[in-house]
């Protein structure tokens, strides 16, 4: 065996931050469960992550001790709830290095966050005095990619229908990478927004955004990154990425369901028209018309998911305590291990990058001709929880000529033993359907 010496002065292997996975696993009560008589092997974190006790406690504690509505009460509980809610916003802003907490808008999830931006375009397009960057009409173009989750396709299709703008997209290469070869023809002076997945929920590909960002700046368009699959798994710095908007969702990052985030550049949020109207988002209301609050309140009509936001703040504390670089490295090692292990399974075909570079810990595959539903069913009988189907990314399935895929996805609590259990389970699938 040869060892490769890393030159002096370069980051050494041992410099990588690490954490004890067994200690982390002890924080997640659900990992003690048995499924069909087997130890739970949860390989579906790209779908939703599990929640550590710290987050569950924060949720219960909020309701038990501090429950009240936010931003409208002078009483003590109302003040505590407001402080907790706004405190969570500040934590999340710091987590993604947002210049201001006011740039963090709470939504229901990533889907709602993307729709919020799409509808802001729509509403601006109906108002001649709106900021021209948000006004769309025939001849204007929206650019997405073939790699998107349906939540980053359908809102733009609907926006194109409403405004007469044209939807265009980046294709995918055979290796499952974004095909940037047509970048200059695709992103042009006609482009108003590029909305791109940062990490694919199905292929695991992590897109390098620098070239695209440079081109977006050159043509004066806006850039939205769908970070639903990346914010939970790696350090994200919105200043460094130089995006205009990013979206992500709480439940994939150890937080509860029902809470998501739209981060937007302050000066853009400031000129965006409101989308949902109601309480909390106004400045003043008369019977004839209303004026609106500054962001983020302008985009948070009605009572928000308060406890969920607070618990998401606890999730961010939890992840930061372990360290996002450490989590990223842990998953990189798992991915390298899994790619090697899966390569030993006969007739297994991986969709997406087959090296642990420029990809995250989400691996989709086909096992011979066995339908993913059947793969998932046999694995479930062994306690192994994977996702099967089109993963809300049908165009990706179509691109690779299959109706569905089986997907295993990892997180900070995943172990190599669990990947071994997956590989053993796939042998069982082959026995049943061989």
């Amino acid at each position: 065996m040869t060892t490769i010496a890393i030159p002096q002065g370069m980051p050494q292997y041992d410099d990588v931050p690490r954490f004890d996975v067994a200690t982390v696993r002890a924080d997640f009560p659900i990992l003690d469960r048995e499924i069909n008589g087997h130890r739970l092997v949860y390989l579906d974190s790209a779908n939703t992550s599990h929640k550590p006790r710290q987050v569950l406690d924060a949720l219960a504690e909020h309701y038990a001790r501090h429950n009240a509505n936010v931003s409208r009460s002078v009483h003590t509980l109302g003040t505590e709830a407001t402080e907790a809610y706004e405190g969570a916003r500040a934590k999340i802003a710091a987590f993604i290095n947002a210049p201001s907490a006011d740039e963090v808008v709470f939504t229901k999830n990533s889907t709602e966050a993307i729709n919020l931006v799409a509808y802001a375009f729509s509403n601006a397009s109906a108002r001649p005095d709106a900021d021209p960057r948000f006004r769309l009409g025939p001849g204007d173009e929206i650019v997405i990619s073939e790699m998107e989750h349906h939540s980053n396709i359908v809102p733009w299709q609907l926006l194109a229908e409403r405004t007469g703008a044209t939807l265009r997209w980046f294709p995918i290469t055979d290796q499952g990478r974004l095909d940037e070869s047509g970048l200059d023809d695709l992103v042009t002076e006609r482009t108003k927004i590029v909305s791109l997945v940062h990490m694919s929920n199905i292929l695991g590909t992590v897109n390098a955004t620098a070239r695209i960002t440079a081109r977006v700046r050159e043509v004066g368009a806006l850039l939205l990154l769908d970070c639903s699959q990346s914010v939970p798994h790696m350090p994200i710095d919105v200043v460094d990425y130089d995006a205009d908007f990013i979206v992500f969702t709480g439940h994939k990052m150890c937080g509860p369901t029902g809470i998501g985030v739209l981060w937007g550049r302050g000066e853009l949020l400031a000129v965006m028209p409101p989308v949902l109207g109601g309480g909390s988002m106004i400045e003043t209301v008369t019977m004839a018309r209303s004026t609106f609050a500054a962001p983020p309140a302008r985009f948070e009509a009605g009572t928000p998911p308060i406890a969920e936001a607070v618990a998401l703040g606890a999730a961010v504390d939890y992840l930061s305590g372990i360290g996002m670089r450490a989590i990223q490295w842990h998953e990189k090692e798992l991915t390298a291990y899994a790619l090697d292990a899966l390569a030993t399974v006969p007739e297994l075909r991986i969709f997406g990058p087959n090296v642990p570079v420029g990809r995250g810990g989400t691996i989709s595959f086909a096992l011979g001709d066995v339908h993913p539903h059947d793969v998932g069913q046999v694995l479930d009988s062994l306690g192994v929880q994977v996702r099967v189907g089109h993963h809300c990314a049908k165009p990706v399935c179509t691109r690779f000529g299959v109706p569905a895929m089986t997907r295993a996805s990892f997180y900070l609590y995943t172990t190599t033993e669990e990947i071994d259990a997956l590989v053993a389970g796939l042998e069982q699938v082959r026995k049943v359907f061989g």
């Binding site: 069909n36 066995v370 339908h371 993913p372 539903h373 059947d374 069913q377 046999v378 009988s381 099967v388 189907g389 089109h390 049908k394 399935c397 109706p403 569905a404 049943v432 359907f433």
Partner: protein, 157 residues
């Protein structure tokens, strides 16, 4: 859970060696033909079922599709059970199959009526898979209606 309750030998046989697969034109040009394409949006399974009838019996039931073992085996069993049957007979079988699949594993199937369809009794215990088993049967019902033959009252999948 017992995996072999779900994947009975009969089901795997039909999956690996499907009967009557492939869409066919009606032999008799005067036949009424109806076709329906059904999709399971949660998993992307698809099936097209085509029926030909002389107004009395289903002279042919042909199908094509892609999907899991349960959905494809179920289409094969459907072809076996209902081809050559009258609309009334087909209704009895169709109702029995839907009842079996909706029964959460509490219905004892009658082999005289359902033939190889009894193998799907285990599937009824897996709510996530019931739709797979019913996909071709629901497409068949629509196809039959389009050919002018009503099969079975309203069913809830």
């Amino acid at each position: 859970m017992q995996l072999d309750q779900l994947y009975q030998e009969i089901i795997l046989d039909h999956y690996k060696h499907p009967h009557g697969r492939g869409l066919r034109d009606a032999e008799d040009p005067r036949a009424h033909v109806g076709e329906a394409h059904h999709v399971n949006p949660t998993c992307g399974d698809e099936i097209t079922v085509r029926v030909a009838t002389d107004g009395r019996v289903f002279t042919d039931i042909s199908y094509d599709g892609m999907g899991c073992s349960i959905s494809q085996a179920s289409a094969s069993v459907l072809h076996e059970l209902l081809r050559g049957r009258s609309a009334d007979d087909a209704t009895v079988v169709h109702e029995a199959f839907v009842e079996l699949m909706s029964g959460r594993g509490q219905v004892t199937p009658d082999e005289d009526v359902l033939g190889d369809g009894v193998a799907f009794a285990g599937v009824a215990r897996y709510p996530a898979r019931v739709k797979c088993a019913l996909l071709s049967w629901m497409a068949f019902k629509d196809a039959a209606a389009r050919a002018g033959v009503g099969v079975s009252p309203e069913v809830k999948a």
